[in-house]
Structures are given as structure tokens and as C-alpha cells.
């Protein structure tokens, strides 16, 4: 495999330097100029994306602001390979949510793209998950990258484990499923040895574990400093739980202190992660409202669902993200998540629920269930 072109390596280095300056700063100008550089490179190197832009009257040399960069709707990744250097792909991540492989979104990463993602994972986690600089054992309710090579969460959690975890950190979902006995043993030893742990993984995995604990009448009192990080929502694989309830259950079942349950929004199509500010605010003594925070190398805009034009103020609409670390595929991504801007960041309400059928026609969601034989 040939090396990435020099200009790409140089751009990647500039982005990494930008990321490494941390999350506690604002640098709109720096973001803008890097965003335009990334866009120009993508415009040049990804012919389909270039045609998509040209159809919208966008020329790469004509635009001066990141806000003019055309966003790519996430579903396009289900039908098209849109990497900058497909032949250099070393890792492909796939979206979940459907059993048909041809309907899963696929995003290919080259070496440079993975390095960018690694940098975002480390910077964001050290600000939002470990603002106190604590090193803990990291227990992961998710499969390891060996078992789930296409799951971006497995990759990200593995980075956390390697960068922030003490030696006995481990994945708790194996080929045989969830290793609940191992988790119980780990939690008990954390209590006994008074060693805080970080428990992280899919949100539904937590909820199923809470249910398990309730059924078995188990309760833990993990040492102060223990924390949880959950991501990915419930996906119909557990009860649906509101955030406040989730935090309360972390407290009740595990003894996690109130501000130590952190949630993150991550997407296969976006290299960076959006953490909520709970733990960081607490650690810094800030009393700001909790929100998902855009690290300086990202931007989020709320758009009108009909026109896809930006909405003013705090109106609810669809979230559109811009991420410099997406250098390897497409910088601007139009999601189908509903959300709104808040003073500190943004709030995500998740994919607007399966819409209640209005008429009497069979809906796509119904059809999906029929095809699954239910």
C-alpha cells in the first residue's frame, strides 16, 4: 500500500495540532481555515462529492466559510463508498440498526483518518470523561474490536482502554455474549479494594444490567471517582430510559455519584465524539446547563427539516455536524437526529421516533418488521 500523499499528511498534522490544543478554547478562524482546506481536498479527491457540490452551484475555490460546505446525508453511506482514498482504506466501520448488510452505512478510514480519530478520542475523553486526570480500570460493556471489527464504538472504547485504562481493563461482551459474572467480580473487587472504576459501553447494555441487578437484588457502592460513560441509545434492545432516570439508576445500582454519569453522542459517519458536559462542569465548579459540547474542531448547526436551511435561535430541527477529523471521508454530515442548540452546546433528542402511521398504508417500519418475519 502506498503512503498517503504529502499534502494529506501535512493537512492531517495541522488538524492534529489543532485538536491537541485541547477543548477549552475557541478558535473559529482556525476552524474555518482548516475546514476549507479539508473541503477543497475532498472536493478535489472525491469525484461523486464534487459533482454533488457542483450540482448545487458550489465551487471549492469560491466559498469562504465552513457554513457553505454542502453536507452529506448519512444514508448516502448506505449506497456509496465515499472515502478520499478507497484503495488506502485500512478500517471500515458500519452502522447498526438493520440486519441487511447492504443497508448498513459504511465508512472507510485510511491510516491518517484513524490517527485523527485517535487524537479526538484522547483529547475529548481527557476533557470530558477524565477531567480529574484519574486513571482507573475501564470495564467495557461492548465487544472488543477483534470481535466487532466494524463497530466504531468498539474501536473508540479500545482507544480509551489503551490510553486511560489501568492494566486489568477489559471488554465484557465476548463471542458468547455478555460476561455478567466477570463484571460482578470486577465490581466487587473495586468495592473491596477501594479502587474506582470506569464503566462504559452501549446505553442499552447498562439498562439491561440494571434490570439484572434489580432482579437479583444486587447493589454496588463503587468508590468515589467511579464513573460511567454510555453511548448509542437503546435501539429497542432494552427499556427506553430518560436521562435523569438513567443517572438515578447508575446511582442506585452502582453507587455512581450524580455528576459522574457521562453520555456521549457518537456516529459511524463522524470521527469525533460529542460528550455531555456533566463531569467536566462538576470538576471545574461550573454551574452551566448540561449539554453536548462541540470540541473546537467540530461545529453543529440545527436545520429546518423541510428546507435544510439553518434555523435561528433554539428552534428544534435536524442536526448537521462539521468535523475536521472527517478528513478521510466527508467533513459535513446531515443527520436525521432531532435536536436544538443550547447556550453551551447542543441537545439531541435522538432520531425522531418511528412516526406513528397516519394513514392506512403500510409503512417502511412495518415492512421491515414483516421482512424480519415478525
Amino acid at each position: 500500500m502506498s503512503e498517503l500523499p504529502q499534502e494529506v499528511l501535512e493537512l492531517d498534522q495541522k488538524i492534529i495540532d489543532f485538536i491537541r490544543k485541547g477543548t477549552d478554547r475557541k478558535d473559529d478562524e482556525g476552524f474555518n481555515s482548516l475546514a476549507l482546506e479539508v473541503f477543497r481536498l475532498q472536493f478535489k479527491s472525491i469525484p461523486l462529492y464534487r459533482r454533488y457540490c457542483e450540482k448545487r452551484g458550489i465551487k471549492s475555490e469560491k466559498i469562504s466559510s465552513w457554513e457553505e460546505i454542502p453536507a452529506l446525508p448519512t444514508d448516502v453511506f448506505k449506497v456509496m463508498e465515499l472515502s478520499m482514498f478507497p484503495s488506502q482504506t485500512v478500517r471500515t466501520f458500519m452502522t447498526s440498526g438493520t440486519t441487511k448488510p447492504e443497508e448498513r452505512g459504511k465508512v472507510g478510514y485510511d491510516e491518517g483518518g484513524l490517527r485523527l480519530m485517535d487524537a479526538t478520542i484522547e483529547e475529548a475523553a481527557s476533557s470530558f470523561l477524565f477531567p480529574d486526570g484519574m486513571k482507573t480500570k475501564i470495564l467495557i460493556i461492548a465487544p472488543s474490536p477483534e470481535i466487532a471489527p466494524h463497530m466504531i464504538m468498539a474501536y473508540g472504547m479500545n482507544r480509551l482502554k489503551e490510553r486511560f485504562g489501568l492494566p486489568q481493563s477489559c471488554f465484557l461482551v465476548g463471542r458468547e455474549g455478555f460476561k455478567v459474572e466477570t463484571l460482578l467480580k470486577e465490581l466487587r473487587s473495586s468495592e473491596e479494594e477501594d479502587m474506582p472504576v470506569t464503566l462504559c459501553g452501549g446505553s442499552f447494555g447498562f439498562v439491561n444490567f440494571f434490570d439484572y441487578c434489580r432482579e437479583k437484588e444486587l447493589r454496588f457502592k463503587l468508590p468515589p471517582g467511579s464513573r460511567t460513560l454510555d453511548a448509542g441509545g437503546f435501539k429497542g434492545r432494552s427499556r427506553e430510559v430518560k436521562r435523569e432516570e438513567f443517572v438515578r439508576e447508575c446511582e442506585e445500582a452502582l453507587g455512581i455519584q450524580k455528576n459522574y454519569s457521562v453520555n456521549l453522542l457518537g456516529m459511524t459517519e463522524i470521527s469525533s465524539q460529542f460528550y455531555d458536559s456533566t463531569l467536566r462542569n462538576f470538576h471545574k465548579g461550573l454551574h452551566a446547563e448540561v449539554a453536548k459540547i462541540n470540541p473546537p474542531w467540530t461545529k453543529t448547526v440545527v436545520v429546518d427539516p423541510e428546507s435544510l436551511k439553518p434555523l435561528p435561535g433554539v428552534e428544534t430541527g435536524l442536526l448537521k455536524h462539521y468535523d475536521l477529523a472527517n478528513r478521510g471521508h466527508i467533513l459535513a454530515i446531515q443527520t436525521d437526529d432531532l435536536g436544538r442548540m443550547t447556550p453551551e452546546g447542543f441537545e439531541v433528542f435522538g432520531r425522531s421516533k418511528e412516526s406513528e402511521a397516519k394513514g392506512c398504508s403500510l409503512t417502511i417500519d412495518e415492512m421491515t418488521r414483516i421482512e424480519k418475519g415478525r
Binding site: T74, Q334, S355, K358, C360, S361, L362, T363
Partner: protein, 480 residues
């Protein structure tokens, strides 16, 4: 100035009206109109007395009312609704758009379509088709085939759950109930709770005693307390709703209760190469656009997909261009209604996925409304599997080499196939239609007519009147 309307999301017979308390009032508002919709407070006692009342009035009045009179009342009701100056119609046109999100033009078109097929002639034909001699519903009639006497009896009380927002649809069930001389208690859909109560008011204007045999209520679907109780009291239940909703409701219905299910289904169209002619292009494209735009494609009658056969004078892609023109023209005349953010997002996402395939040089075409998500026409060659549309005027057009090749994609969804527009125009048509029928298609019509079934059709492939009645045959002609 804001125009205010007060409406009730229920109808109870005049004799019981003082028993109903209002639980809460829902407010719908846009810049010009405000609707205060009164939601009744429902409990077992109310339902119990309602059921008692309906059964009693049915016994003392409706059961003995000649079928001729019933048809006359229902015909008069439809005629009033067809009158553009009828106050209740005007009220419906003011209020239903705000509540459902449909444009006023769509609501008006659907009221006209429904009522035009609910006239005297339609009812007589439906009765003859399903019951044979409609007088079987009045009394024992001599049946030469039997060599004896037969009579058809409707159930005493039909309970029906409506769960869709297609305006002017629930009245069909009240008509059918009346035609078989059954009392009827319905539950309106949350998405469109006002048409049924207004229709029953019309019935009251024309025949107050018949209106003593009907009621419609509003409650939250899935209500643990009410539904099993109500189903337990019914003689027949007619369900309208999604696959899941119907399933969960069915579990609450006792076995002895006769049950008809109108689940969600879907439509499609097929145009053969003989019909892909330049001289017909504009008209046919308009018909396809109309099929897809009525009720904003949300009725099970609407097409998700139109299959176009290649090899005709006009290519499928050219046909799509003509459909797009017609979709836009229709949207000017009868605008698409308001949709949810989720629905709009789904349309944008799907459009983009098609657009990239088009950019990639695949045999794909994406045609969209000039702004927003008002309408979408996408073309691709038949992918070999039926993909439903996200609806709201999103038409998939599949190009096929030979129309018979589509049958394998339709087969797996046979039980859900409802309505097909077929225009083939050569000798294959008959065989093709026969095969569709065998697969499960319940109605076959021409392009442009998908949204207007006659009252006579076997709704969802069942006999909606005949399935409600039971027969009593007397095989002793001498002494009767």
C-alpha cells in the same frame, strides 16, 4: 382576526348527551384558526349505559326499519356532504386540515371522492352483490335456490376502532353497520377525530332515531381498562389499523365475537409497453401523479411503486419526467400537507441516496419539487424487491423488461397487497390480472382511479357486509 371553532371529538345519541363530561380540551392553532376540541371523560359506567342505550334503540327502531328507508337516510347524508354550502362540510374543511396537516384541497377532494361513491345506487349495488336480495335484511324471503326461506341478520352491536387520519373514511363503517341494521360504537383516531362525529350529526339531522343507535368516542389507544371491556360487550368488532395495533387489539377480543380486520396494506401500479405512447403521455402521467397525491399517499389505496415496462414508444425515464411535471402541477392545485420532521428527514435522506447513485452513473433518476419535500419521483430499474415508499408523495418508479418479472417481488408481500392500477393494453392483461388476484391483490383499477374505489368493492378482499351478517334458512316451504 382569529377564527374560533369548538368541536367535539365524540358523538353520543341525543338521549344520553347530558351524561358526557368533558375531560379536557385540546387546542389546535395556526395563524388564522383556533380549534378547541373537547375530549370526553370515559369510564365503564358511561360505556355501560351507552351500550345499553344503543342496543335498546337498535332493537326498538333500527332492527325493524326497512332497508329502503335506511338507504334513503344514508343517501341523503352523502348528498348533504356533497353540497358545497352544507354547514358541517364547511366546518370540516376549516378544521380537518389544521388537525391532520392535510391541505384543505386534499380534504375537500377526499370528502368528494368518498361521498360520491356512497350514494343510493352504490348502496343497492353493494347490497345486491353481497347479500343477493337486499330484502333478506327485512324479512324472510323465498329463495328458489334453497327451496325455502332465508333471512340475514346483522349483529346487534358493532364496535369499531379507527386508527388512521384519512378524512371521510370512518363514515363507511357507520354506513355498513346501518345497512345491516346494527348499532355501532366507534373510536375515532387521534390523528383525525372530528369527521365521524360530524357525520353522525348529519344522520341525526335526517333521522334522529337512527342516530340513537350510533356513537363515537375518543380515548387513548391501547387503553387497558376500556378496550377489553368494550370488546367483551360487542357482537362484532371491525378494526382499522397498523399491523401491530391490530395484533395487540385482537388479543383483547373474545373468541365468540365476530372480527373483521382492515390492516395496513399497500398499492402499486403497472403500465405495459403498449400504453407507453406519446399521445397518451401527458394524461397518463397526470393520472399516475393523482394516484400518488391523493390523501398525500397515506391511504392503503395509494401506490408506493409504479412499474413501467420498457420497449414502448416512450421510455420509462421520459415517462418519469412527465410524471414530475404533473406532480408539480398537482401540488400547485392541491398542495401536499404538513409532515413531521422525521418524515421530511426520511425523504431528504432517501433522495440523497438516489442522487448519489445517479451521480455514479447508475440507471437512476431523481426528480424533486423545486423546494422542500413536496414531491419526489425516483426512477431505477426494478431492483427485484418491493421497497415501500416513505409516502407523502414520494413515488418510486421501477423500469422492467417484462411486466411478468415483477411477480416474484410481489409474492412475498401478497397478504399486504391492496390496490393495483393496471394498464397493459394487450392480450397479456387478462393473464396478468389473474396472477395479481391470486397473489392477494384486492382491487384492480386504471391509473388515476386508485383512490376512488366504489362502495361495492370487496374492501381489503373481504365482503364487508356479508361478513357481518349471519343467515337463518328455513327449509320447510309448505308451512312457512
Amino acid at each position: 382576526m382569529m377564527e374560533n371553532f369548538e368541536l367535539e371529538a365524540f358523538y353520543v345519541p341525543p338521549g344520553l348527551r347530558d351524561r358526557v363530561k368533558i375531560a379536557r380540551t385540546l387546542v389546535y392553532e395556526d395563524g388564522a384558526t383556533r380549534i378547541l376540541l373537547k375530549i370526553p371523560s370515559i369510564d365503564r359506567t358511561l360505556i355501560q349505559s351507552l351500550i345499553h342505550h344503543l342496543r335498546e334503540k337498535r332493537g326498538t327502531y333500527l332492527a325493524d326499519l326497512p332497508i329502503e328507508t335506511i338507504v334513503q337516510v344514508l343517501d341523503e347524508a352523502s348528498r348533504r356532504w356533497l353540497d358545497k354550502n352544507y354547514p358541517l362540510r364547511k366546518l370540516a374543511l376549516k378544521t380537518i386540515p389544521l388537525i391532520t396537516g392535510f391541505s384543505p384541497e386534499v380534504v375537500e377532494a377526499s370528502i368528494d371522492a368518498e361521498m360520491e361513491s356512497s350514494l343510493r345506487e352504490d348502496m343497492w349495488r353493494a347490497l345486491s352483490l353481497e347479500i343477493g336480495n337486499p330484502l333478506y335484511l327485512n324479512d324472510f324471503q323465498y329463495s328458489p335456490q334453497l327451496g325455502g326461506y332465508s333471512r340475514a341478520f346483522g349483529p346487534e352491536l358493532i364496535v369499531s376502532i379507527f386508527s388512521e387520519n384519512i378524512p371521510a373514511l370512518p363514515h363507511l363503517l357507520f354506513m355498513r353497520s346501518a345497512l345491516v341494521k346494527s348499532a355501532c360504537l366507534g373510536k375515532v383516531a387521534r390523528g383525525e377525530p372530528t369527521f365521524a362525529p360530524l357525520y353522525l350529526k348529519t344522520m341525526e339531522e335526517i333521522d334522529p332515531e337512527m342516530a340513537e343507535c350510533v356513537a363515537v368516542l375518543y380515548w387513548q389507544g391501547g387503553e387497558e381498562e376500556i378496550e377489553p371491556f368494550l370488546f367483551g360487550q360487542a357482537d362484532a368488532v371491525v378494526l382499522f389499523g397498523g399491523v401491530e395495533t391490530c395484533r395487540s387489539l385482537l388479543e383483547k377480543i373474545p373468541r365468540r365475537v365476530k372480527t373483521l380486520v382492515h390492516g395496513h396494506r399497500l398499492g402499486f401500479g403497472v403500465i405495459g409497453r403498449q400504453r407507453m405512447r406519446r399521445q397518451d403521455l401527458e394524461r397518463l402521467a397526470e393520472e399516475v401523479a393523482l394516484d400518488c397525491s391523493m390523501f398525500d399517499q397515506q391511504a392503503c389505496l395509494a401506490p408506493h411503486v409504479y412499474y413501467l415496462e420498457k420497449g414502448g414508444e416512450v421510455s420509462p425515464k421520459e415517462f418519469c419526467q412527465a410524471v414530475a411535471v404533473a406532480m408539480e402541477r398537482l401540488n400547485q392545485r392541491m398542495p401536499r400537507g404538513r409532515i413531521t420532521p422525521h418524515e421530511a428527514s426520511t425523504i431528504h435522506q432517501l433522495r440523497a441516496a438516489y442522487e448519489f447513485r445517479e451521480l455514479n452513473g447508475e440507471e437512476v433518476l431523481v426528480l424533486t419539487s423545486p423546494s422542500g419535500t413536496d414531491w419526489t419521483v425516483v426512477y431505477e430499474k426494478d431492483p427485484g424487491a418491493f421497497s415501500p415508499s416513505p409516502l407523502n408523495r414520494f413515488l418510486r418508479i421501477y423500469g422492467v423488461e417484462d411486466i411478468f418479472r415483477i411477480l416474484s417481488s410481489l409474492k412475498p408481500i401478497g397478504p399486504f397487497l391492496q390496490n393495483a392500477a393496471v394498464a397493459i393494453g394487450d392480450k397479456r392483461e387478462k393473464e396478468f390480472i389473474g396472477t395479481l388476484g391470486e397473489l392477494g391483490v384486492a382491487r384492480i383499477t386504471s391509473p388515476g382511479k386508485m383512490s376512488v374505489p366504489s362502495m361495492m368493492w370487496h374492501h381489503d378482499g373481504i365482503s364487508p357486509l356479508a361478513s357481518l351478517v349471519h343467515w337463518c334458512d328455513v327449509e320447510k316451504k309448505d308451512e312457512f
